[in-house]
Each structure stands twice: as structure tokens, then as C-alpha cells.
């Protein structure tokens, strides 16, 4: 009995993906293309080329941080919609430390730069959470507003205050370049041992393993420590937590600050890992993608890794679909969104089905131990 449920649970993500593909196929058919061709290209191009795999890793790196940042706040029943703004500020503070300090060895300069990014993100998260805990201002509103302020502020800082003097008079608006000591080293040399070379291998940098470690650490902290238990208690029932002597406000404050700190790191993949300067044209929207990543991962830090990889894959695969299957870009964007939406819905339905089945199994021959275990969940 048990193993069937287990198999079903295991198949849930696969079924969810299949459902997403089926829904997307309808759109592909509607524009007169063969879905099997389109998805064939998506798989062949996205998964069977080494440059694509490397590109997916590079694209997934900032999404891991963004998804983790959002998930951390969601876990404490807080809605941090401000990851976008926090990451702008983090990218800027990192850039500032990057180009102002000179002559430091990399093992001092780089950690300082990364800490500056985290501090920038935290600083930007501080105002909404203080307003929330002290004055009851809803964090969704305040963080969204802070996003606008952050966007305008860093445009001003890059274009008018810290613009690279050597670029004045050109269309390029950006900060001065950082010395190598403030850049995240590429994983290229390591990947070369596995026969992976070229510009795509060089783009993948050490922030990726750093992000993975961060996810694992938070997964352990949230599920295996007292702090993690308190966070769950606060999110599940604030009143009960309060009654049990758990300081609600302190837990929420800490989790929001952690969320802001991780959010500050989102931009580093591009700024420190690739460009080496903060350009006015730097990638935007990663913070909002982080919300989708966290939701897809059901706020599980380990799930964030998988969800980020899926987003990276869809993003890379889209280029191949545009190129080889000649599907218009607009349709591809719709496909991406549909697949993700369908996966979320199907996953939710399947999980509910499995849970119901499980309950029924448990109810049939009621051995006391199983019931107690179920109730304890």
C-alpha cells in the first residue's frame, strides 16, 4: 500500500510538468506549429548542449538568491515583495565598495564587497519591517514603494554621482570598473577539468556554490533548529507562539532582515561575477522572478534550487525555440508563464490528492501510531 503512495508522490512533479507542457501545446497548436517540434527543440537545445547547461547555471545563480530571499520572508508569514529594490541597493553598495577600495588582497576585498551587498539589502528591508512591527503598515505596500525609490535612487547614483569619468561623453552610463580583487572568480578553471571550456564556462562563478550552500544551511536551520521551530510556530499561529513565550516580533524582524540580506546578493552574479561594473542597463526584474521561484518551491530552500534551475532552463530554452523552431518571442513568453502556472496548479492538486489518499489509507486499518503521527503533522 505504502509504496504506491510513495510512487505517486514521486511522480507528482513529473505529472505537473507534463500538465504544463500539455497546456502550452494548445497555444503552440493555435499558432500553427507542431508542439513536438517546439518542445523537442526546447529539450535538445536546453539540455543536450554543454553551453546551454552552463548558461542555465549562470542564469539560475541570481534566481537562487532571489528565490531564497523571498522564501525566507514567506516562511515567517511576511510578504517581502521588495527583493527587487533590496537587490538594487545591494548591487550598488557592493559596487561602491568594489570601485572605491583599491590595493586590497582579494580575500579581504571580496568578502567586504559581498558583506556590503548584504548590508545594502538589509538597510533597504529595515524601513518596511520597522514600519510593519511598530506601526502596522502592511509590508506589501511599503516594500513595493521602496522598490520604486530604489530604482530611481540608483539611476541617480550611477548616472549623476558615481559615473565613470572615463565614460562621460559616451552613451555608456556606469560606475568605474572594479579591480580584480573585488570580482568573484570564475569557475572556469575548475570546469575545465571536466572538459568544459569557453566563454559559457567562464561565466559560471563561485557565487553558484555559495548560493547552494546558503540554501542548504537555511534548509537545516529552518527544519532542524530551535530557531526554525520558532519561525514555524510564529508563521502557523502567532497567538499560540506568543502564548508559548516565542517573541513574535523578534522572529519576524530577524527573518525579514535575513531575507533582505540574501536579497542584497541577487545582483552580484552579474555585477561581480560578469561585468565588473554596475551599468545602468544591468539586469532587472530578478527580484520579482524570485517570488515565482519561491512559490514554485513552496518556500523550501532546497526546492528553490530546483525551481531556479527550471527558470534558467526555460529562459535558455526560449532562445533555442526562437532560433530553431522560429516561434515568435511573444509566444515564447506566454509559454514560459503557462508552463510555470500549470506546474504550480497541478502540483497543488496532486499534493492534495496524495494527502487525501494517505488519510484514507491511514483510516482504513487504524493503528494508533499512524493516526498520532498524522495528527502531529
Amino acid at each position: 500500500m505504502k509504496w504506491r503512495l510513495f510512487a505517486l508522490q514521486f511522480a507528482t512533479p513529473l505529472l505537473a510538468i507534463l500538465f504544463g507542457v500539455l497546456i502550452a501545446s494548445i497555444i503552440v497548436l493555435a499558432i500553427g506549429q507542431n508542439p513536438l517540434d517546439v518542445f523537442g527543440v526546447l529539450i535538445r537545445f536546453g539540455l543536450l548542449r554543454s553551453d546551454s547547461l552552463l548558461s542555465i547555471l549562470f542564469k539560475a545563480t541570481p534566481l537562487i538568491f532571489a528565490g531564497l530571499a523571498v522564501a525566507l520572508s514567506f516562511r515567517a508569514a511576511l510578504w517581502n515583495i521588495g527583493v527587487e529594490g533590496q537587490f538594487y541597493i545591494g548591487a550598488f553598495t557592493a559596487a561602491y565598495i568594489g570601485f572605491t577600495l583599491k590595493g586590497l588582497p582579494i580575500f579581504i576585498h571580496l568578502p567586504l564587497t559581498i558583506l556590503a551587498a548584504a548590508a545594502g539589502g538589509m538597510a533597504w528591508a529595515l524601513i518596511p519591517i520597522v514600519l510593519k512591527l511598530r506601526r502596522g503598515a502592511h509590508e506589501v505596500i511599503t516594500t513595493i514603494m521602496m522598490n520604486y525609490i530604489a530604482a530611481a535612487l540608483i539611476l541617480y547614483l550611477i548616472a549623476d554621482v558615481f559615473r565613470d569619468p572615463s565614460q562621460v561623453g559616451t552613451p555608456r552610463v556606469r560606475t568605474p570598473e572594479f579591480p580584480p580583487s573585488a570580482r568573484v572568480p570564475s569557475m572556469g578553471p575548475l570546469l575545465e577539468l571536466f572538459g568544459l571550456t569557453g566563454p559559457d564556462a567562464n561565466k559560471v562563478n563561485w557565487l553558484l556554490p555559495f548560493g547552494l550552500v546558503l540554501c542548504v544551511v537555511f534548509a537545516i536551520v529552518l527544519s532542524r533548529t530551535r530557531f526554525g521551530y520558532e519561525v514555524r510556530a510564529v508563521a502557523f499561529s502567532p497567538l499560540a507562539a506568543e502564548a508559548a513565550g516565542i517573541p513574535n516580533a523578534r522572529i519576524q524582524f530577524l527573518m525579514f532582515m535575513l531575507s533582505g540580506a540574501v536579497a542584497g546578493l541577487v545582483g552580484l552574479n552579474d555585477v561581480l561575477g560578469f561585468f565588473g561594473y554596475l551599468d545602468i542597463d544591468f539586469p532587472k526584474g530578478l527580484g520579482f522572478l524570485g517570488i515565482s521561484v519561491a512559490l514554485l518551491a513552496k518556500n523550501n530552500p532546497l526546492g528553490v534550487i530546483l525551481a531556479a534551475l527550471l527558470f534558467g532552463f526555460l529562459d535558455r530554452g526560449a532562445q533555442g525555440v526562437q532560433f530553431f523552431a522560429r516561434t515568435p518571442k511573444e509566444v515564447i513568453v506566454i509559454l514560459q508563464a503557462l508552463i510555470i502556472l500549470a506546474i504550480v496548479v497541478a502540483y497543488e492538486l496532486m499534493t492534495r490528492y496524495v494527502r487525501k489518499q494517505r488519510k484514507r489509507e491511514a483510516e482504513r486499518p487504524p493503528p494508533a501510531a499512524t493516526v498520532a503521527a498524522e495528527a502531529g503533522r
Partner: protein
Amino acid sequence: MSKRGLRLVALTIVVMIAATLWILPGSGVQAQAKKYRVGLVYDVGGRGDLSFNDMAYAGLARAQKQFGARIETRDLEPTAGGENREELLRLLAGEKFDLIFGIGFLFTDSVTRVSKDFRNVKFGIIDGFIPDQPNVASLLFKEHEGSFLVGAAAGLKTKTNRVGFVGGMKIPLIERFEAGFIAGATHVNPRVQVFSEYAGTTGEAFRDPVKGKELALAEYDRGADIIYHASGGTGIGVFEAAVVKKRMAIGVDADQSLTVKPDQRRQILTSMMKRVDVAVFQTISGMINGKYKAGVETFGLKENGVGYAVNEFNRSRIRDIVPRLEALKRDIIAGKIKVPEDKKQLAEFVKKVKR
């Protein structure tokens, strides 16, 4: 119940295996007889911007029509923020394309990097300045020459002796439009006064119609009756202001009489055409005829790379000044008039005219 669940699992697995089998064996592109492959990656905004990107596409389409089976063309759009423009260039280069265009100066760094990794692929960049790569052609325009002609049109047509200029991002590229426009207006009408405003100092200044409308309204209120914009999407606001004030405006890049809404069309005197299509087409045909040249190439009046637009909507309106504009054009091509490119040259030019 669990039996049904099991069947569901089995079905999933079968379908997935079937799908995988279908997908795996085919190959992405069929081998084709040797033909030239030309790729193009658009600037932010992509197809349908009714100006810059669509002009680039027009050049590509013309080449496809002209050379037919001898070339294969592909055009790709980057994501909304343009983050993946370099990957798209790399994709084209990796697929053995012979000539790849990056449309817009934002491609400068990407084209530089990719051209170093693919030495045997030829590149073209519009508006970007990459003089030192042996496989990159930097395609620049003498926007000041075209702007001179529309400036002359404004100088001849103004009744208030006041005209205006609205620029996008304040960079030397756009200041060339401004210098040419002011020079042209003063050349034909020494008493003319020109107001100049810029929408900003960042890329945002090219997609801010609200700001464009504000600036244009202010200039119309100061008495200008014709405004020339060089501000991309911001110019939509300039046309809106022209409709509100019932005054004239001059378009840029494409023949904007053909691309704006009908009520705005009536307010457009002419457009300064920047023939991105000509640059793209000539570079392609150059490559096919073995005459591709790396380095900087500029397209001016002489090369038919810039000019003023005449169409069914404005023909009757500018008929009286066309002979004069054509004479000026000949003078510029012959070198009798040297159109200023920047503030300094403009000051000298104006001093000479007013003397």
C-alpha cells in the same frame, strides 16, 4: 483508489518515454547547400517599434528579397531588458552565421567580446564605435547632415521665427542631431531662434513620452511652431503635444508620417530619416560580393544614409521648399557647406552665418 494512482504513474512514465524518443533522434538544423547566413539581434524594444528596429528589419528583408536563395536570414529579439543580447549573438556565431548585426550602441561591449571569440565571423554594429576589431564593421551615421536639412525645412516654414528641439539622452550622438538642426535652421533663416531641451541623461530618456510631451508643450508655449525630436519613444509625447497645440513636429529615424496615428500624421512636417536599412543592406551585399570591410563606416547624405522624408501626406505641404532643400543637399555633398557636429563647431557656424 491507489490502483488508479498507480495507473496514472505508469501512464505518465510511458508518455514521457514516448516524448523523449520522439524528441531525441532528430537534428536541429538540416545541412544546407552553402549559402550566406545573416543574423541580426534587435535593440531593446524589438520588432514593431516603428522606427529604429523596424528599419533594421527592412534592410534585412530587402537583402533577403534581392539575394533570394543565396542567403538565409534570421532576426532575434532579446528579452525585455536586453540581458540576453550577448547570448543571442553567441548563438548565431556558434551556428556558423557569416555576418551578424547588433542593432544599437548598447551592443558595443557584447559585440566586442563575441567578435574576439569568433574571429572568422563578420559583425556589424549600428551606432556603436568599435574601430579596432578586424571583423567588426561599425556603421555610423552623419545624423547632423540629415538634421541640417530638416532644420532648414523648419527655418523656411516657421512663421514665428522660433523652432524647438527635443533630445532623448544627452549624449554626443544626440547632440549631433541638435547641432545639425540648429545649423540648418540658422543657415536659411538667420533670425530664427531655437529652443533645445533634453529628456534626461539615462536610457530611460528614450522611452519617456510623458516627459517628451511636457518639454514640447513648454517649447510651443514659448512660441515655437515647429519642433524636431531625436528621442525615440519619447517623441510620441512630442507628437501628442503638437496635436494639442495644433503646431508642427518633425520625426526622426523612420518616416514617422507613416508610422504614427492619423491625427498626429497631420502635424508632421517631415522626418529626418536615418537609413539603418541602407546600412544593413549595403553591409550584407558587400559581404556577398566579397567587399566586406571592417572598421568604421559612416553613412551621410552622399551615401543616402540620411535624408528628409517626402510621402503622400506631406508632399503638398513641403512642395515649395523641396528645390531649396535639394540645393542644400547638393552643397553638403559637394562640401560647400560643412555641417557642424558638436557645440563648438556649431558656435563657429552660427557666427559665420550671422555676420
